[in-house]
Subunit: 445 residues, 2 copies
């Protein structure tokens, strides 16, 4: 964790905030230059707000002699993030700048995947023994605070083998009578996470419960570190951004918009865009299949965009609801049937709503005879009936696709608005032309 | 804040988790019944994980005599959230169940809007005086811990008028030499939020900095409470869900998917769906305008879904990027021109990519002569040219619309995938038919 309160003296704030604002348009060399002009306090303030990538670039941009003090400013979990950014041949040089203990801790952290609880945790936490008195524990705590502990919220009670026996919140420790033993005030039924748990699961735990830190243990129940809530806020933001981008029909960027290079941007967007385009080509095939009907009743073509987009829109609504509900845990995989029943009702009613609007639009239009021909009434039936079918299909496809993806162990957020729209477009055309042949056979077709 | 460590004894876990899993399919009466069957410890565990709405329904579902102890379990900020859920005529009765001090605090909190920092804050924090010694402060802290403080991370140094003078983290307080005065170890350059600040701004502050609590002051600089990071995790999740739902083309639900009634669901989805439908009707008007061209070259209609959906997809990508970048602060309003320049480049290149794929598709298709007629080459030019135009327009419209909405003080997240798609559909048709008349005039048209 960074310092808990930022210093912000009035005369220099101007310079810091200016550098901060211009940050993403500056080259690394310019950033380093600006950074070195700041007073140390301001520079530290800025340093802690940077991403690990920027911290890495800044540190390696500084003269060799200045690097050590910046790297040593970071707690082991953040230092490990910086090391992750370094290519293999540079990492050794940076690791050598750390003090021995931190280097050992960082090495252990680097063994974990970045997205695991182990990659997120801080190996420094407050340890007490079960047979200390409350008073002993508090003064022991004062000693540890002087050394290397960043987060003071809970003390973790471990045995000699580092096995986690219990937790005592500082609040309870402080409120307890002085003579009591730690084992008498500690809680023993704990919520812990495994060092190999995924960070998304960890963040859901924080969202469901109101704690500020959770202990990380290995498969043998040995205490490895703590994940603190401040790291989780970033995780939650990041995961929401990733989900939003996937939902918008592209790969997650993994970096701020303005920091992504044009070729990178093309790669992340072009892939899905091409895939969707190839899928959408089926509409041309479907249309060609109905070319005969189109030729006879060109009026049918007028409503094609209206109908397929209504299916896409209702599908986008349904999939956004379910993707998000799955992400925050409001809906579980086993709820799929309840969701389907709901969407069956909601989709039908929404379809009827649009169908009525569509029909009215055709029937009350002053030039309906000229625009749509003498059979405008039958055409309005065709449009209304298709809208019910398309909106219903959109709602069902949009709501079920995320479940199918989750079941296949893929990310439900890939059930993006464009993906669902593409799926629905082809089906929408088939529904529309089927309805047309029902209502217009022998009249126009 | 809820208790910092959850108790979870093995024999009863089964029942709690069962009730928790079934929660959203149970009626209020069934919830109350199940809840009352739980041992007190487990019931408390469950109670703290509930939303304010569920807590309210549970409390009012309990016999009158049992309500007080549950309501009093809540810290003032959470109690205020429960009161928000109560209709005006019930609120007085519930307020009467609180102890005097909490009632005063809750009344003060209710004066704030729910989404303000004031509505989010906890009025209970650790207060110390600047001229206490570190030792005095620590033992004063132990006394306060026994009383009513939930969050122990910082002590706030206030003068007699409650004006905030400085902050000292417990870590620094613990690490300081015993004889020092609080004023010597406190930090005086503070980051504070105003009680009237929006919760989204507060959550951005937490995401940018690594603190666990931030002091809330009024316009006169008087300390009113603290916002703690655990409340922010929920805010970040909620805001991300709201944004996602708006982006999916609907009103935010404000409740878990399965808890929203069908009429509510219809209202939240039907409104936007109808509005988009009315907008999309312009496509029928545009198509009617080009009916003459369509009649002459029915082959043109085959590519309409393909072309307009490509515009919609690229628009969805661009708007999702910018909506999210604005929400997390990666991009500011003043960056609009830089974004436009980028999207101009990216949109053109993506358009060229799709144009090439589209052209190839037409040219290499074995039955191209039969399907598209003898002028298939010219048609492939028309399609490719239109794709460049449509994808470029989609990228520009999708990226600029969120800026325009923000500028108009509307929520950028309303630049939803369906909204952008609708906007692009009409333009896409115009681009397509213009391209057609360029390439096919005198040949097919």
């Amino acid at each position: 964790m960074a310092p808990e309160v930022e210093t912000q003296s009035n005369d220099e704030t101007f310079v810091v905030s200016e550098l901060q604002d211009a940050w993403h348009i500056l080259s690394t060399a310019e950033r380093v230059e600006g950074f070195r002009l700041l007073p140390r306090g301001d520079a530290e303030e800025l340093f802690f707000t940077l991403t690990a990538r920027d911290q890495y670039e800044l540190i390696t941009g500084l003269p060799v002699g200045e690097r050590r003090s910046w790297l040593r400013l970071l707690p082991p979990d953040d230092a490990a993030d910086v090391m992750q950014e370094a290519p293999d041949d540079e990492r050794g040089g940076l690791m050598a700048l750390l003090d021995d203990q931190t280097r050992k801790e960082v090495t252990a952290l680097l063994a974990y995947a970045e997205d695991d609880a182990g990659g997120l945790m801080n190996p420094r936490y407050v340890r007490v023994r079960p047979d200390m008195t409350v008073d002993e524990a508090i003064s022991y705590l004062r000693k540890q605070a002087r050394e290397r502990i960043e987060t003071l919220a809970y003390a973790y009670v471990c045995d000699a083998q580092q096995k986690l026996l219990g937790v005592v919140s500082f609040r309870d420790l402080f409120a307890a009578q002085q003579g009591k033993l730690v084992r008498d005030v500690m809680k023993t039924d704990l919520i812990t996470v495994l060092d190999t748990d995924d960070q998304e699961a960890v963040s859901r735990l924080f969202a469901d419960h109101d704690f500020v830190a959770v202990p990380v243990v290995d498969a043998q129940g040995r205490m490895k570190g703590i994940v603190t809530i401040d790291d989780i806020v970033e995780v939650v933001q990041e995961e929401a951004t990733e989900d939003a981008q996937k939902f918008g029909g592209m790969e997650a960027l993994d970096a701020p918009y303005l920091d992504v290079s044009i070729p990178q941007m093309l790669k992340k967007r072009g892939g899905w865009l091409s895939a969707l385009f190839l899928g959408e080509m089926l509409t041309a095939t479907a249309m060609a299949y109905f070319e005969h009907e189109l030729q006879r009743a060109i009026v049918l073509s007028l409503f094609i965009p209206l109908i397929i987009s209504s299916g896409g829109n209702s599908g986008s609504q349904a999939s956004t609801l379910i993707v998000r509900a799955l992400a925050v845990g409001d809906v579980k995989l086993r709820d799929w049937f309840r969701v389907m029943r709901r969407e069956l009702v909601v989709g039908t009613l929404l379809g009827v709503l649009l169908g009525i609007i569509g029909m009215l639009r055709i029937l009350v239009w002053p030039t309906r005879n000229k625009l749509y021909g003498e059979h405008y009434l039958l055409i309005s039936f065709t449009v209304a009936f298709s809208l019910v079918g398309v909106v219903l299909f959109g709602s069902l496809a949009g709501s079920m696709l995320p479940f199918i993806l989750r079941k296949l162990r893929l990310d439900p957020a890939s059930a993006s608005a464009p993906f669902v729209a593409t799926l629905v477009d082809v089906t929408g055309l088939i529904i529309y032309f089927t309805a047309a042949s029902m209502f217009l056979r022998g009249v126009l077709l």
